[in-house]
Homo-oligomer: 243 residues x 6
């Protein structure tokens, strides 16, 4: 069940048997010359939609994340870590106020991880500093780190997976939006790697926006395999989490 | 052109001839017994998609807004005004950092208006307090206040339009998602009206979540008419804004 | 009763029969070549003083508001929206902590409206996100939008009322401070109109600080009529609000 | 010259020969059974008005201050220190943006001192952390600590001056508002003294709101003498500060 | 007992008979050509260590303080006042959450005083604005203002004590770290004095970093005398505070 | 060279040949029945002191970290993530303002990692959102994750290392403070493991404060070996970082 297509009586009924919800979160940022700017939101949204068809309650995707280092490329939009923390805090507190006790985020962007974890700690600090007890379970699942996904990526791409604008995520977006496929010759095939700092430094180090990856290896068929692999792992995690 | 389905070179090219972007913004909140929780995001997203097909650049929808008063009903999610202001500020500053000069928000939620205007002022305060000059044009367009939309609503529903869970927005969501149509007998037909305060007070005053409206008057056909009316007005505003 | 001229036992007694208070709020900002910098504070302060004489409890005027767009003209002072929100929140929470349940702001500055409404929502968010119920009633009354005031303004000035440094507010300041009257020839008689952005843009669009108005039409006699009209409407609103 | 009764061209002219301004700041808080709630704002406002008559530019009084410890008594209004710091920062930055370089605050409330000094440091931190140089001079003058005022207080009241709801400030409010005089028998004559913590603790320690003072010694004639003493000292400080 | 060398069961036992803790706080900032950058942290840390040996519970030293005005000299590190307030608030709330009721700060830096007091008020505002009662006792003790210390400083140095990089604090650091002694000829012997503003202004006024002091008068033997004097006074204050 | 025992001219000289600094950061939190509350600060401080003896510039240790989950045990002190981010931001900006360009944090607490990374991104966001370029290099090194340390831990303890109150960190504190050694029988030998949430939940899951570890395996001799292993790795990283 997708939250935005439900009514409040639907959710009231749902809460009678389950107090868990899945929130996809991504980013709107450059993904190299051929990757979609929405890649990091599209991937968790597509996987979560699969789980929603099986009955899980899925919230609207938070499409903007912590992407300051991509601001050297047009089309990128970033929340400061402090802003993203406030967003996550308000989302979780809203869900708690209306009866949810378990909130699982399905994340599509590596740059969100640290900030999301800091946000969870900020939320728990409220209870801890008041010496009260919080009823909340919070969990962050990164689809690109799911075991089946990692296995498939190693099998298909080996080191060419890289860390940004990877063939696995590009493949998944093409499965989700077949018309979005772009073919291009990338030079060098394998993008450089290095540390991540501010946006100007990032563009100097990674001139076309990719980090260590060769997304030309992606195909829509790979994308479907990534989707199925991720959904299988996610289903298991969700089933355990919701009970 | 939808930003999430574009690449950064696409946007670099777009910026050579236009520095304007349209950002849909809504809310995730109860809309009465039959209205979709995603109504306020779905409506501007659907209208903006129409303009994107005509060439306008449209960002991903900001789906969560200032909806604290709806937190008495499950499924509602709210950002505090201060959080939403930070989000809007970061989105606008990101776009400015990457070359945009004109940002137009297409809004689907009355509760966002004051906070959005405060956010614009907060952004401009940065320049004003530094005694520098900002190159930004910011504009807030509320689709439900567009003249053609108001005219059509008055014609179709008169006073039964009300102010929340209105037949016009319900109709538009049914046009966007025909399967989402829900028919139900609402009692009373016309919901009560009154001031808006905190969530507990809201649920006392508006027991089924509607304010002053009779959404049973909505039809998908009306929805398409609202879509066309809104798109016509928006096209005119956009054309003037982008140049 | 004016709060600053009362003692705490006076207020303790007052609270036994009434838990409402009126807080004038304005701005300190340029009002064109002839308008007083204090116009937006003087007007609600003067009207509220009238109601105080009839027994209403009136707090000290908050004289500084959201006026970033006027910072291109010397003498203007502005709070960022986020700062004004914190001020309103602390004032309201202080009053609540000491026994008040109804707080009505009498506002003299259009630029404050959105931020004040966002502040109210921020206050209510505290209760809504905690799933508790707030006992507060908050109300914003803009004196220049009161029906009797609008009627009188239309009658006396028509379109020459404009939107900043208006003849109605100038007239009211001259009624309050007869010595402050300034006569001058303004060129053009009717100031230009347009959107409001940052301070530098504002000064470019509105070279002498007025927006769409011709304040040379004002007289102290008009000022007294505006005072009486506003006080009549305010009395009705207050009487209903306090009970 | 009082800022609120001036126009922006007046201030533009003033700035040609002087870039200094005086800002009265006080508090709205209980002052014992007979002291006015507005005492801390009325005193600096009255003294500053004297200097304004001699040509100094005086801003509107900031009437609400850091008074959390008085919130056990109705009629008290408090800003959190963080809020007051934001207010002071915005006021100073506004004045700097419009051409001022010297800002002197005339303070009437001991509870404001630490927060005001912290606010000054916050303002200067902006320049220091950017390794730039600030052109600002900021000064805090507490009228009740001026040498002539201290001398007169010791002469008239000795130890009965105390530290809150003091006879000197009560006297000055009676000079400013002769009708506000209240006579009452206070029991004990001399209020207790002790540390200041939260509001509940304060009301327990200081049951009628006074700290160590006997305000029954005050007379309006004393008030005029305090006014003249303070004005003499202030004039000297201002003359040196503005040049 | 030093907190960092204890275990949690040690503290659980300690709390059975005492709910007070001593927190040294200082700064990391230039102290003239011969003074240690850690002077303001070393002094309270050394004195507190003496009290810890006598059984008082002493927390780790907060080594960074409000030192924005020293940022013109390399080696200085500063927290903004707002940041230091958040640190103090979190430290106090943590201690309160785990059973402490009395928190005494032993401060080594004049620049911290106002911000610390504002932080205490911010903490108490939480209770006061909620109309609840706080069980906390908070106290700020500045070692350099202790009566025995002031007496000894006057006796040894008279006016050459000055206000920054003073011989008394330099002497105490040499007692704590005998190898850190530095002898140098300072020119002028007595440093200039003046107001404190931003870092650039500070370096202009105080070219070698000292304010009004002649630290060449310091000796390690003086340092031991200051240590004993401070410890004697502190013991008395602590004994009264903890009970 | 330790910053707190240096003078500003020392640092001015140092900056002529090197613009890098090492900042130890830890936490003050329970470490089980036998581990020191200061463990996470003592470990990086001790290792950094080794590097300081070899010429590296080492700042004072930031002794308080993100430890909200330990607040169920007395003696723990925690900064909220947002507060720790402000501290890191101010420290880095201070160092940048005074000439440093490379800041390396040596961290002793796993709970700090996410927040530190978020803080770095917040710092870089300033440059990225302004479309300017930051000259800063920031690096986070966790001593307990250094390859030689991990190797030694696996060799000595295998799975009994666990994740909190580990034998490796306990051993290192006993090397640093031989008198602090505590022997005790722990029951169970191997502590339980599980997710980390708020403080009340943590104490329920981990009744004596340890997570998955058996610190009774620690010896001071192990501690010295960990010290040497960590110092070797750190030296290599530092040498590369500073040039």
């Amino acid at each position: 069940m997708r939250l935005q297509l439900a009514t409040w009586p639907d959710i009231e009924t749902y809460l009678e048997s389950c107090d868990a919800i899945l929130v996809p979160i991504g980013s709107t940022e450059q993904h190299g010359p051929t990757g979609l700017i929405g890649t990091d939101a599209i991937c968790p949204e597509r996987i979560a939609a699969g789980l929603a068809e099986e009955g899980a309650l899925v919230a609207p995707t938070i499409s903007i994340g912590m992407a300051q280092h991509h601001l050297g490329f047009p089309g990128s939009i970033a929340l400061r870590p402090s802003t993203l923390m406030a967003v996550v805090e308000d989302v979780v507190r809203s869900l708690q106020a209306t009866g949810f006790r378990r909130v699982m985020f399905l994340n599509g962007h590596g740059g969100n991880i640290a900030t999301m974890q800091a946000a969870f700690s900020e939320i728990w600090s409220r209870a801890s500093l008041e010496a009260t007890s919080s009823p909340l379970s919070l969990k962050l699942v990164n689809w690109f780190m799911l075991p089946s996904v990692r296995r498939l990526s190693r099998e298909l791409y080996g080191d060419a997976e890289g860390s940004h604008a990877t063939p696995s995520e590009v493949a998944l977006t093409w499965f989700a939006y077949p018309d979005a496929r772009r073919d291009a010759t990338l030079n060098p095939r394998l993008a450089p790697d290095g540390p991540i700092r501010d946006a100007a430094d990032f563009r100097r180090r990674f001139p076309d926006g990719r980090c260590g990856s060769d997304p030309t290896l992606a195909t829509p068929e790979h994308g479907e395999r990534f989707y199925r692999a991720a959904l299988d792992d996610l289903r298991t995690i969700w089933t355990e989490f919701r009970s």
